[in-house]
């Protein structure tokens, strides 16, 4: 179908107006321009202040048993530790020493008193030198000169241990403990050196060598690792924030002020309105992120010159950040715009920020995991891919970045496209544009659901069913430990998929026949589905191997799967087919191609219904690798139910698809020997592991494409919403462009 031609003149007019409008809004200006310019310098300043405060504050330490300390090497000198124990002698001032007031008291009582002071916060730490420490040390030292001639080692010093008492519940006390440990370690080492000298041994006898580490990074790249993690994070968060507030104002705000309806009556097409607004939101998103980065960069540079932590932020990074910012801003802007269009008011719109953050933040945080690097698998995950690509660029791994840039760009582009389509779609829905606030009354709402349910479920009901399935799966997951594979298979299909679906169908729709698409199929439809399953089988096997290569199964899960495989091998083959081919085909098709698809088709766009139902089908598979494959299969199954006009078509495809996968998974050299025809189809890739030849995969794919294009010509029964959607698109494509 021809797409509506966009009038970019209108987009420009709307864009210019929206930008001017936002520039006149004090709240937006504050969020976007003023806040970043003030925030980081203020944060930097406070950081410096706090740092100074922390570094200058001396911790109070009480030393009990000072008389037990040896003269050499000295540990304390009056109210300070000996300055020779610090790299910088000035640091000795950071530990302020005190001694028990009553020297005559026994050390145990002194310790009890000191502990009381410690818990009251009058002290940060207490150092107890045990009785006879000096005496034992001297005794030990006296034996050392003899030891150089001794043939056998003499028993060790057996010195009593000094004790360090601190309060872990108090931050200052913990810091004092760390500082004290360092001082005492140095002191202990110097006693050791002293002992070695007395024994006439060189220091190298105890410390034969020291490790020397060498940093080969050029000075400009030092500290980049820290920044390469921080900067993409800041970029993403501010690009999102910068997009969110203008988006809410431009959609929910306009709805609230009543100006959106006026704009919708103008000749500007929905797509033009969305693009005009989208470009505005994008502009503000980019500006906010850039200002934040500049402000953070200069503040970071300043703080760093005072207290080097990471090294200066690499200014060259700005170029990469700016390039990456454009697709990031486009993606976030489209998502925010579509969400903001849903909101009835500015206030409601602002509530939507948190869910967006909750989705996006884990995608960013996953990149902070030490083992996560830019690989093909990660580059295919939206947002995560961009962050990792940016990190690679900032760290100077240009070759790696170049290799994975295409998948990141394709995935991000695809997400942008989908988000923009979603936003345009929102602007075409009257129930979104003219939603009215209703008082929430659960009883009334349930009654309305039951009383006004239609023959087939609504799109909302379809999503409720998916949520119910996910919840049932989550609830059952914990209670299946130790169950046999048969029980697991039965429960996971019947209890977590079929039962919620049937309950939803009972409560949210009137006609099981229409909801589950139980009409009898055309023989040609069934034949098409069967042929498609056969043709796509080699490609699906190859896709499965590819996905496992891309996202390797973790060893622990791999072990579990091996256990499952062993149980399967012990089962009769017909039982395996019944449990893993027929049962899932029946339950999952009724759920996803039946209930969910019937509901989603009320959205009016059948392609959208296919994609969403496939995604829902994907996420209900518990192993991630399976989810990806199931989503792809779900696209074919969705296509089949619409064109075939009956649930039996995708069900047949599903049975064959799973049966073939189970059968071919068992092909080994012995099987090939007994079925020589397999030699023409398959090739041994590793010992006793057989895969389809590339030629067969390609031939199967070509045949599948021909089949799909053939099936695509079959007329199908449209829902009223689909008819309307088509009519509107037809009009949009034939409208004159002014």
């Amino acid at each position: 179908m021809k797409r509506a031609k966009m009038n970019w003149g209108n987009v420009r007019i709307i864009f210019e107006r929206e930008v001017r409008d936002q520039m006149r809004d004090r709240r937006t200006l504050f969020m976007i321009f003023v806040l970043p310019l003030l925030l980081y310098p203020l944060l930097g300043l406070s950081f410096l202040r706090v740092l100074q405060f922390l570094q200058q504050k001396p911790f109070r330490v009480m030393v009990i048993g000072q008389a037990e300390l040896p003269e050499t090497p000295p540990l304390v000198a009056d109210t300070r530790f000996a300055s020779s124990l610090f790299d910088d002698p000035k640091q000795a001032d950071l530990l302020e020493l005190s001694y028990p007031e009553d020297n005559k008291q026994p050390p145990e009582k002194q310790e009890i008193a000191a502990k009381k002071m410690l818990s009251k916060g009058e002290l940060e730490a207490v150092l107890v030198i045990p009785a006879n420490f000096k005496e034992r040390l001297d005794e030990f030292r006296a034996t050392l000169p003899e030891r150089s001639d001794a043939a056998t080692p003499v028993e060790s010093a057996k010195l009593p241990r000094p004790r360090l008492i601190f309060n872990d519940g108090k931050e200052n006390s913990r810091l004092a403990e760390i500082r004290l440990q360092r001082v005492l370690q140095t002191w202990s080492e110097s006693i050791g050196r002293d002992n070695l000298a007395r024994a006439g041994l060189p220091e190298a006898a105890a410390i034969p060598f020291r490790i020397e580490s060498a940093d080969i990074s050029p000075p400009s790249r030092r500290g980049v690792a820290g920044w390469s993690k921080i900067l993409p994070f800041i970029l993403l968060i501010w690009a999102l924030t910068g997009a969110f507030y203008p988006a809410v104002d431009l959609c929910a705000g306009e709805k609230e002020r009543g100006t959106l309806e006026t704009l919708l009556i103008s000749p500007a097409e929905r797509g033009e309105i969305v693009w005009g607004k989208l470009l505005t939101v994008m502009l503000f998103s980019v500006f906010t992120a850039v200002l934040n980065l500049l402000s953070l960069g200069s503040t970071g540079g300043f703080v760093n010159s005072q207290f080097p932590v990471f090294g200066a932020p690499p200014w060259s990074a700005m170029v990469w950040l700016l390039i990456a910012l454009v697709p990031v801003a486009a993606l976030f802007s489209a998502v925010c715009l579509a969400l903001a269009a849903l909101a009835r008011s500015t206030k409601e719109g602002q509530y939507y920020l948190m869910p967006v953050m909750l989705v996006i933040t884990p995608l960013v945080f996953v990149t902070l995991w030490p083992s996560v690097e830019l690989t093909l698998g990660f580059s295919l995950i939206p947002v995560t891919g961009i962050v990792l690509l940016l990190r690679a660029l900032l760290e100077g791994e240009y070759w790696n970045a170049l290799r994975f840039a295409p998948p990141v760009i394709v995935v991000t582009g695809l997400c942008c496209h989908m988000a923009i389509r979603w936003a345009v779609d929102q602007f075409s829905r009257e129930n979104v544009l003219f939603r009215e606030s209703e008082r929430l009354d659960l009883r009334l709402w349930f009654r309305h659901l039951w009383r006004d349910r239609q023959a087939t479920p609504s799109a909302g009901a379809a999503m409720t069913c998916v949520a119910a399935i996910l919840l049932a799966q989550f609830a059952l997951q914990g209670s299946m430990g130790g169950a046999s594979i048969t029980t697991v298979a039965l429960c996971s299909q019947l209890a977590t998929i079929l039962l919620p679906t049937l309950l939803c169908a009972w409560f949210l729709s009137r006609s099981p026949r229409e909801t589950f698409q139980l009409q009898s199929p055309k023989p040609l439809g069934l034949a098409g589905a069967a042929a498609l399953a056969l043709c796509l089988h080699p490609a699906s096997q190859m896709a499965s191997a590819f996905v496992q290569q891309l996202y390797p199964v973790p060893p622990q899960l791999s072990e579990q799967l091996l256990g499952v495989q062993q149980q399967l091998n012990a089962m009769p083959f017909w039982q395996v087919l019944l449990l893993f081919a027929c049962l899932p085909a029946f339950c999952e098709e009724l759920a996803f191609r039946g209930f969910v698809m019937s509901g989603l088709r009320h959205l009016g766009n059948r392609r959208q219904a296919i994609v969403i139902s496939a995604l829902a089908f994907g996420i209900t598979h518990t192993v991630n690798q399976q989810s990806i494959l199931a989503t792809l299969t779900g696209l074919v199954l969705g296509f089949l139910v619409i064109r075939g006009g009956s649930i039996w078509c995708p069900m047949l495809f599903h049975v064959l698809h799973n049966s073939l996968a189970i059968t071919m998974g068992q092909v080994d050299s012995a099987m090939v020997r007994s079925w020589p025809v397999l030699r023409y189809l398959m090739v041994e890739t590793s010992p006793s592991k057989w895969e389809y030849q590339h030629g067969i995969v390609l031939a199967g794919l070509l045949a599948a494409i021909l089949l799909v294009s053939g099936i695509n010509r079959v007329r199908y029964r449209q829902t009223p919403e689909e008819k309307l959607y088509e009519a509107i698109r037809h009009d949009a494509s034939s409208a004159p462009v002014g």
Binding site: N10, I13, I14, R17, R20, D21, R24, D25, R257, G258, T259, E261, T262, L264, I265, S266, P267, A268, E269, E430, L433, F434, E438, D441, L444, W445, H448, R451, D452, L724, A727, I728, H730, D731, A732, S734, A735, P736, G738
Partner: protein
């Protein structure tokens, strides 16, 4: 010019189940005519006008403006109408001049003709004083003027007014009605919805009385008076409405 045939709109309503906002409403309006939609609040007038302006889609029935279907050819329809509602839809952060200019440009008017048209409109509607005033600082009357200028800047053949005088003081309302009458003399086809009888009596050439989504009566004022043998429009209106409500109660009791 405007051809409405069995127009129906239903909503899913939490309390009432399926709520019929518009029930098989049909009427025709022609150029040089002011067609009045008279009905109490919630009668379905705004729903009908929103369908005509393409922002809502009918559940059933058709509506055509200048031969263009509102469902199948919404973009063609939008080019031929000017819409003005009680909710003025004036941008807070735009001046009167900027606002009218914005819509003029969206309607595809070139700079020079647009400027000339705007000068003429600002003069005719006496808006020169508020040319540079921001929407947020305007009174309701000022906003209504801007809204009218915005609706007719592209000189559309069809102008729809949805309760334009609600919330206006007598002076401003009078000026607005004068403008509507003037538009009629220019040969525009005007649909004017209101619940105020005097406005209908003064302005409208034909009247449709709508109540609870149904069209109760339709014709010129004289026709209506003769048909229902009642000279006073207000009386006529109440009779029709109470008869309709009574009939509904009887129907409900039978069910």
């Amino acid at each position: 010019m405007i051809h409405v045939q069995r127009l129906t709109k239903t909503y899913a309503d939490l309390r009432r189940g399926e709520f019929v906002a518009l029930d098989h409403v049909s009427f025709d309006a022609y150029p040089g005519q002011i067609y009045g939609l008279l009905g109490p609040n919630g009668a379905g007038k705004t729903t009908a006008l929103r369908i005509l302006s393409t922002v809502l889609q009918p559940t059933d029935g058709t509506a055509e403006i200048n031969g263009c279907d509102v469902v199948r050819q919404p973009s063609l329809v939008r080019r031929q109408i000017g819409f003005m509602s009680a909710n003025t839809g004036v941008y807070d952060r735009m001046t009167a001049w900027e606002m009218v200019e914005y819509f003029g440009r969206l309607y595809g008017l070139q700079d020079e003709p647009l400027r000339a048209r705007m000068e003429e409109l600002f003069e005719r509607l006496q808006m020169n004083e508020i040319r540079d005033v921001l929407g947020a600082k305007m009174s309701t009357g000022m906003k209504q003027k801007v809204s009218i200028a915005r609706a007719i800047v592209h000189d559309p053949p069809v102008v729809i007014f949805d309760e334009p005088t609600s919330g206006l003081d007598v002076l401003v309302a009078r000026a607005l009605l004068a403008t509507v009458a003037e538009l009629k003399t220019q040969g525009k086809c005007i649909v004017f919805s209101t619940h105020i009888m005097t406005e209908v009596e003064k302005l409208c050439d034909r009247i449709a009385i709508i109540h609870r989504g149904s069209l109760l009566a339709e014709g010129t004022l004289t026709e209506l008076r003769e048909r229902h043998q009642e000279h006073d429009l207000e009386e006529l209106f109440f009779q029709l409405i109470s008869r309709h409500d009574e009939q509904r109660r009887l129907d409900a009791a039978v069910c």
